[in-house]
């Protein structure tokens, strides 16, 4: 049996191959399809989720490695102040095109803003370079991260 904390709730699952990547566990077993398969080799970031707040590529992480840690997916990140601000900024600026990579982008952006409250363009580029968007929404991703940072900083001041 595997016990996992996902988006604040603990679930138990029987008969799970512990070597199954977390991505496929989330998508096929836990029915959380927000995290996406793009490459299976940690090259594109579409599968990004948080493990104890850190952005990880779930396509190469065995589900066993997530036991005892808090898994957060795009479906649950709204409960996090930073994640909520990031999603709101994404919506305000209409970042998405095809949308397939965006859950991963949002998870990486949220992790970035947890460690760097006011990232420069260069810091954004460095932190987000692992997340591929074939539609080329990168300009708006940069702008939305700045937007979310501004929202959070204004909230902090008030």
């Amino acid at each position: 049996m595997i016990q996992l904390s996902i988006n604040g709730k603990v679930h138990s699952y029987d008969d799970v191959d512990p070597s199954m990547p977390l991505l496929w566990f989330l998508r096929d077993i836990a029915n959380l399809t927000g995290a996406k398969y793009g490459c299976g080799m940690a090259l594109c970031g579409a599968c990004t989720v948080h493990l104890d707040g850190q952005a990880v590529r779930s396509c190469v992480m065995p589900v066993a490695a997530a036991v005892g840690k808090k898994v957060t997916t795009v479906e649950g990140v709204v409960d996090d102040d930073v994640g909520h601000a990031v999603q709101a900024a994404w919506q305000k600026l209409d970042v998405v095109q095809c949308g397939y990579c965006q859950p991963g982008q949002i998870m990486s952006a949220t992790a970035l803003l947890h460690t760097n409250k006011n990232p420069s363009d260069a810091a954004i580029d460095a932190a987000m370079a692992g997340n591929v968007c074939r539609c080329g929404t990168y300009m708006r991703i940069r702008a939305a991260i700045h937007e979310a940072a501004n929202t959070l900083s204004a909230r902090g001041r008030s």
Binding site: F25, D28, V132
Partner: protein
């Protein structure tokens, strides 16, 4: 465990999600599974039931429910280009709906109702969605509005003229009602034949930047449903093994280890046709990881006797040889022979090369199939309903109407999901048929891994161009002779007979044979190889993706040879093309072409380049600014883009398509190449087929030409110009002319 014992799933649960999502459609639910040896078509009776229609459905494009929801039905695929938003804007404008009450769903396959009026079949392509829907969707909205007004007039006993409609509400003196309140009554009104459309000056939604995309929320909170995400009860996932070489077939297969993987349900062999799709082996499992693990455990010996075994080097050598011989004449203006024989001041001779390109959408190809008696249902990000429906019906030997196609979001496509050969859909159906014969009744989702997607063929063709240009004493371009060598994306498809004229596939020479520049003597020849069995397909902007790079490079070479300013040189040749000249001037003005570029740091060189082109009746100019370091590495700093697409329906979507198209085109310009060695594709995943990443994305400034002309498409037209704009900028910075894509490390080599 034997396959038959655990493979037979009886699908008898309610598919509520399907019913909710696709209201009004009948669907079959199985009462039981028949004997496997009977074959799928001989099965027992299906139980059909339909759900009630929405309260008010005046036509194929809109439903208004009593809860006030306005559902717009999109006949076009939403693959990122914003078509759901555009079509909803058109309909909601004439309906006078509130933008927030409007939702969009994808249309099923039904060519009678959802034909692309420009293409003549149900398909999304050629940047035609807005152009072919502009009046259709507005009329659909206006009809619904008229029926709501008629209902209110009847209810309130007032004249229709006295009723006003605004943001989802109807008003008359002393009366007020919402769309939802009037929906049931509106449904009883006669459908008017002729309705007047608004004067564009009265538009409230069309042309407004502040409208959010209709898919902006579900694509940020994880609820958007792509084919990758769609599930049916008892569904099995199919992961496949394809041969390394096009045209190879399985010789011997040992699937013992694959079957031993827990949760693997079956292993089946499927046959391609040795030309348009692969033969291979599929492992069917209850989850993706099991299917993948099972696939990896297969032991297959391939018969490669009929396989394609040429490499990129051999293909290029053949193309060079073909370019040295006479081709078919695609365009002949003036007399190039005489012009080259006469005195001319300068001669430019150049060869340009472009590689095969994969579409590489973020969502690898996939397709969900449920076979049923006498037909099937398909869930897919469906870009070519009519072609796919016909191809699947032919494979199943059933009428086309028995193939139901349900539309989902596509995680990108860039042309990949509109294939006249229906490759991955037919593969999915082949697998389902093979599984049926083994007693599998479950729905099956084919999921290609990134590696299958990259190596799966259907690439933008590789191009070789050989050109000769003559300039007179004033530097004027007086003669241009051009030979294109490329595979045809139409030849061998059902569209060959009407798309290829006199042996010439116009898509191979588009943008060249019909160039807007005034060149008095122009001759464009085409050679189309028929021995290269690498599957090819339209790739975002089709022939323009190659030809604008070459024409805009060559014009830049001519300007340099003439000692002229590349902007003025182009402008002087566009006196008969006012809209092209317009975007060229707008981009140059906005970028400050007249002022010097800000210099780079010590050791850095800066440069800028310009390019202008028309594709899909949309006019675009791009100006790129680059910084080149002493080691030859470089960065594209800024791109200024001007676009004239007629009336701008959703300005912010247009801006997004220019930004994104530039990003997509820049990926190809900098890195993109599919290469073959002995017939084997050398790239497999994103470490080898290299995408653009955020650190390489330039700042893009977009300027839309205000226009009252009919709207034209924006999904593709930004793509072809970024490569020439960047290459011309690199020439401006370094004096080195790049004639081969991708640029890669040519500056430092």
């Amino acid at each position: 465990m034997s396959d038959s014992a655990r493979d037979v799933f009886i699908v008898n649960e309610s598919r509520r999600r399907f019913l909710e999502g696709m209201g009004g459609l009948a669907l079959a639910i199985y009462a039981g599974a028949a004997r496997a040896d009977k074959g799928w078509a001989a099965l027992g009776k299906a139980d059909t039931k339909a759900i009630a229609p929405a309260s008010f459905e005046p036509n194929a494009f809109v439903r208004i429910a009593s809860d006030n929801t306005v559902t717009v039905v999109s006949k076009h695929l939403e693959m990122g280009q914003g078509t759901y938003t555009g079509l909803a804007t058109l309909l909601a404008e004439e309906l006078d709906a509130d933008w927030d009450q409007v939702r969009v769903e994808g249309a099923p396959a039904d060519v009678a109702r959802y034909k692309n009026t420009l293409l003549g079949l149900q398909a999304t392509g050629g940047s035609t969605a807005m152009a072919n829907s502009y009046e259709q969707m507005r009329s659909a909205g206006a009809v619904a509005r008229a029926m709501l007004v008629a209902a209110a007039a009847q209810e309130w006993k007032v004249s229709a003229d006295s009723i006003a409609v605004d943001r989802g509400w109807l008003y008359a003196k002393g009366h007020k009602a919402s769309f939802g309140q009037l929906a049931a009554k509106a449904a009883q009104q006669p459908v008017p034949n002729n309705v007047a459309l608004k004067n564009p000056k009265d538009f409230k939604l069309i042309g407004k930047s502040e409208l959010h995309r209709k898919d902006y929320a579900d694509k940020t909170d994880g609820t958007a449903v792509f084919t990758q995400d769609y599930k049916l009860p008892h569904m099995l996932v199919a992961v496949v093994a394809h041969p390394k070489r096009f045209g190879a077939v399985p010789k011997t297969v040992n699937a013992d280890k694959a079957r031993a993987v827990p949760n693997v349900a079956a292993v089946v062999q499927f046959s391609g046709d040795n030309r348009t799709r692969f033969s291979g082996i599929a492992v069917l499992a209850r989850n993706t990881w099991a299917a993948r693990s099972g696939r990896d455990a297969l032991e297959i010996d391939w018969d490669e006797s009929q396989a394609f075994k040429l490499g990129s080097a051999e293909i290029l050598a053949q193309y060079k040889d073909m370019a040295g011989r006479a081709g078919l004449v695609a365009c002949k203006e003036g007399d190039t022979e005489a012009a080259f024989a006469a005195r001319h001041a300068r001669l430019i001779e150049a060869e340009y090369e472009l590689p095969y390109l994969a579409h590489a959408p973020m969502e690898p190809m996939n397709c969900l199939v449920q076979l049923r008696e006498g037909g099937c249902e398909i869930w897919n990000g469906e870009q070519f309903q009519t072609g796919d429906q016909n191809a699947i019906a032919a494979m199943l030997k059933v009428p086309a109407n028995n193939v139901a196609l349900h539309q989902l979001y596509a995680g990108g496509s860039f042309g990949r999901r509109a294939n006249p050969s229906s490759d991955y859909l037919l593969e999915a159906v082949s697998i389902a048929l093979a599984a049926w014969d083994k007693g599998v009744r479950a729905p099956i989702k084919l999921m290609w891994t990134r590696e299958e997607d990259t190596r799966g063929g259907y690439y933008r063709p590789a191009f070789y161009h050989k050109a000769k240009l003559a300039l007179d004493g004033d530097g004027k371009l007086v003669a241009w002779q051009h030979h294109v060598v490329a595979q045809s994306i139409i030849k061998g498809t059902p569209f060959e007979s009407f798309a290829i004229k006199n042996g010439i596939d116009g898509l191979s020479v588009e943008g060249l044979a019909d160039m807007a520049y005034e060149v008095p003597n122009l001759r464009v020849e085409l050679s189309t190889p028929d021995n290269i069995r690498v599957p090819v397909l339209s790739w975002r902007s089709v022939g323009h993706s190659s030809n604008a790079f070459v024409s805009e490079g060559l014009v830049d070479e001519a300007a340099a040879a003439a000692g002229k300013d590349p902007y003025q040189y182009r402008r002087d040749m566009l006196s008969k093309a006012p809209r092209l000249k317009g975007v060229l001037e707008l981009a140059a003005t906005k970028a400050g072409w007249g002022q010097p570029l800000k210099p780079g740091a010590a050791g850095e060189k800066r440069g800028r380049g310009i390019a202008v082109h028309e594709a899909f009746n949309t006019y675009v100019a791009q100006l790129a600014e680059v910084t080149v370091k002493s080691d030859g590495s470089f960065k594209v700093d800024r791109v200024v883009c001007a676009v004239d697409c007629g009336l701008a329906i959703n300005p912010d979507v247009i801006v997004a398509q220019m930004q994104g198209g530039i990003g997509f085109g820049l990926a190809a310009a900098l890195h993109g190449a599919i290469t073959l060695k002995d017939g084997v594709v050398e790239q497999s995943n994103f470490h080898e087929y290299i995408p653009l990443r955020i650190n390489e994305m330039p700042v893009v400034d977009v300027h839309i030409v205000p226009s009252a002309e009919k709207p034209t498409g924006v999904g593709e037209t930004a793509v072809p110009l970024i490569a020439p704009a960047v290459v011309n900028a690199l020439y401006n910075a370094t004096g080195k002319r790049i004639r081969k894509l991708p640029i890669a490390n040519q500056l430092s080599a």
